[in-house]
């Protein structure tokens, strides 16, 4: 029998429907793959094999009865940020020790309603704060990709590092992820996988541990563009429980795949070139432009003049919202409690021990910029700059641009415990320089693998779309995928 974990979601879906395989067999293959690989990669924090087999059995019954859902019997990994009823949900933080919610997030509930099977909870940067998955309480995730002829461990990116690594190493058919500044697209680019952050308001945030509420969005990481389209259709919904959920019907994203690019206008922003960016990334970008042109798209140069201010504005807005959201972790209602001499001492000790370095840093920045006397200088200024960043995109779209092509990241994956990155928080933050603009403007963005660098590591391109026009992103990304081919990490684990 062929390796069932090699099947894409679309392939597995067809074989399940044709009764060539069963959901139980498929799930069993993934459980075995995780067992063999997780010690080396650390992608899963918790596995739920019994629950998975139970769900698979129910899927097989529905397949037999002919009432299969859109993701019937497809085994998925779930980022630890999503509330899953009765199952470990800690945002990879010590402060949520032992937390098992008595509710299910809307996104995961949507997936289970469509027949998907849960394999377990995936590792991530603590509270989704990080670009390397090194801030997890559960230790770093290893990227399944290594440079040619090297055995140096690389980061999978972050914060959805466990999701990206698990998809790349075939430890799940697809994974849920979240993106506040690039946390879906940067790890997808680092692991040769496809990741889409949909428009703000497309996926419900209800039941997902909050980081920065005006920026957070859920989305899938998958092996190819079609699988990402299939997953997003199930994850997205209109949800009365999230007041920022937008009342627009979810389209069939898969139907956009394969449509010709004739009449599509692609903008190339001149500001997405940064000092020190490897020559290879510029070349990849030019290659992407050529592929889209060959496929019939019109290419136009555009300007997004406030691009360079997106990252500094993000590092005010996101920590400010985080400091407020994370105020709830006080040792009273859930998770860790460290006793103290009085209640304030208990709060302070609990939070000192429960939060990791990066999380504390961001809470401190957020508390400072919101504190009396500094609010106008920092927070208000950043929110005004945010208006200008959004306007840059609106101007481009008004001028007729359908999607914008940029590199996904300024470099390929770097080493675990990289000294330069770890000694300078700002250097780590620069990983998100091309992705963070999209969150600030609430737009959809997709990262699609486009090639390998000279060391054999994957590099991705990003497409940015109009609000709620994910379809054009799938349509265009598919053209890049067809031209570039797919990339699989040679197995060493």
């Amino acid at each position: 029998m062929t390796d069932l974990t090699a099947l894409t979601i679309a392939e597995a879906r067809d074989q399940l429907k044709a009764k060539a395989i069963t959901a139980t067999e498929l799930t069993g293959a993934y459980i075995q793959a995780i067992e063999n690989a997780n010690e080396a990669l650390n992608a899963y924090i918790v596995t739920t094999p019994e629950k998975a087999l139970e769900m698979a059995k129910a899927s097989d019954a529905r397949l037999a009865a002919g009432n299969a859902g859109a993701l019937e019997g497809i085994p998925l990994g779930i980022k630890d940020l999503f509330g899953t009823e009765g199952v470990h949900t800690q945002a990879a933080s010590h402060i949520l020790d032992g937390f098992k919610p008595h509710y299910e997030s809307t996104v995961t509930a949507n997936l289970w309603a469509d027949g998907a099977v849960m394999l377990g909870k995936l590792n991530m940067d603590e509270f989704a704060m990080g670009s390397s998955n090194e801030s997890s309480y559960y230790g770093p995730v290893k990227n399944p990709w290594r440079a040619k002829g090297s055995n140096v461990d690389l980061v999978p990116g972050g914060s959805s590092g466990g999701s990206a690594a698990a998809v790349a190493a075939r430890l799940c058919a697809g994974a849920t992820a979240t993106d506040t500044g690039g946390s879906i697209r940067q790890p997808a680019a680092f692991t040769g996988t496809v990741g889409i952050k949909p428009t703000y308001g497309r996926c419900s945030r209800w039941g997902i541990v909050a980081f920065a509420s005006s920026l957070d969005q859920a989305g899938p990481i998958a092996r190819d563009v079609r699988d990402a389209a299939i997953m997003l259709r199930s994850m997205a919904s209109v949800d009365a429980k999230d007041t920022t959920s937008v009342d627009i019907a979810v389209p069939d994203y898969e139907a956009a795949i394969g449509k010709p690019l004739a009449g599509i206008k692609i903008g190339i922003p001149k500001e997405y070139r940064v000092d020190g960016m490897p020559e290879e990334i510029e070349k990849l970008w030019q290659q992407g432009i050529a592929w889209l042109k060959d496929a019939g798209a019109t290419i136009v140069d555009i300007s997004l003049p406030h691009t360079k201010y997106a990252l500094p504005a993000y590092y005010i807005v996101a920590p400010a919202e985080a400091s407020s959201n994370l105020a709830r972790y006080d040792g009273v209602r859930y998770g860790l409690r460290v006793p103290g001499k009085d209640i304030v001492d208990m709060y302070e000790r609990t939070r000192a021990e429960g939060f990791g370095e990066e999380v504390k840093r961001r809470i401190m920045i957020g508390t400072y910029v919101l504190s009396a006397g500094y609010y106008d200088a920092y927070y208000l200024q950043a929110q005004k700059v945010r208006t200008l960043i959004k306007k840059d995109f609106e101007d481009a779209f008004h001028a007729g641009v359908d999607a914008i092509l940029t590199p996904a990241t300024p470099s390929a994956a770097f080493g675990i415990a990289d000294q330069e990155m770890n000694s300078d928080p700002v250097k780590m933050y620069l990983n998100d320089i091309f992705t963070v603009t999209v969150n600030m403007a609430g737009l959809p963005g997709i990262a699609v693998p486009a090639g390998l660098d000279s060391r054999g590591l994957p590099l991705g391109l990003q497409l940015i779309g109009r609000p709620f026009d994910e379809e054009t992103l799938f349509q265009t990304a598919y053209v890049i995928e067809q031209a570039a081919g797919k990339f699989n990490a040679p197995k060493w684990w």
Partner: protein
């Protein structure tokens, strides 16, 4: 703008995070690096620009003023470190 160790201690207190002298020293340097990085926002001319309040042009949805949830005391306290008869237990706050 930059912060000194006294400000860092004050912010840590506002954020309810216990810090040691070593923490304060380290955090002061890191916070100043980040504040130095965000300084460039002052270059931007924001005259007449409205601060963003909602990234999607939509009015905040309002739900009907009816009871839709409740009677879940056991669920709510289930994850608390210490409870007593459906109450969260905290150190004494009133003398």
């Amino acid at each position: 703008m930059s912060v000194d160790t006294a400000t860092v201690k004050r912010v840590a207190n506002l954020a309810r995070i216990a810090v040691t002298e070593d923490d304060v020293f380290r955090m002061t340097g890191q916070l100043n690096a980040i504040l130095g990085f965000v300084e460039q926002l002052n270059e931007v001319n924001v005259e007449g620009v409205e601060p963003m309040t909602s990234v999607t042009p939509m009015a905040m949805k309002k739900r009907a003023d009816v009871v839709t949830d409740g009677n879940k005391v056991a669920d709510i306290v289930a994850n608390a470190p210490i409870t007593e008869e459906n109450f969260f237990v905290v150190p004494k706050v009133v003398e």
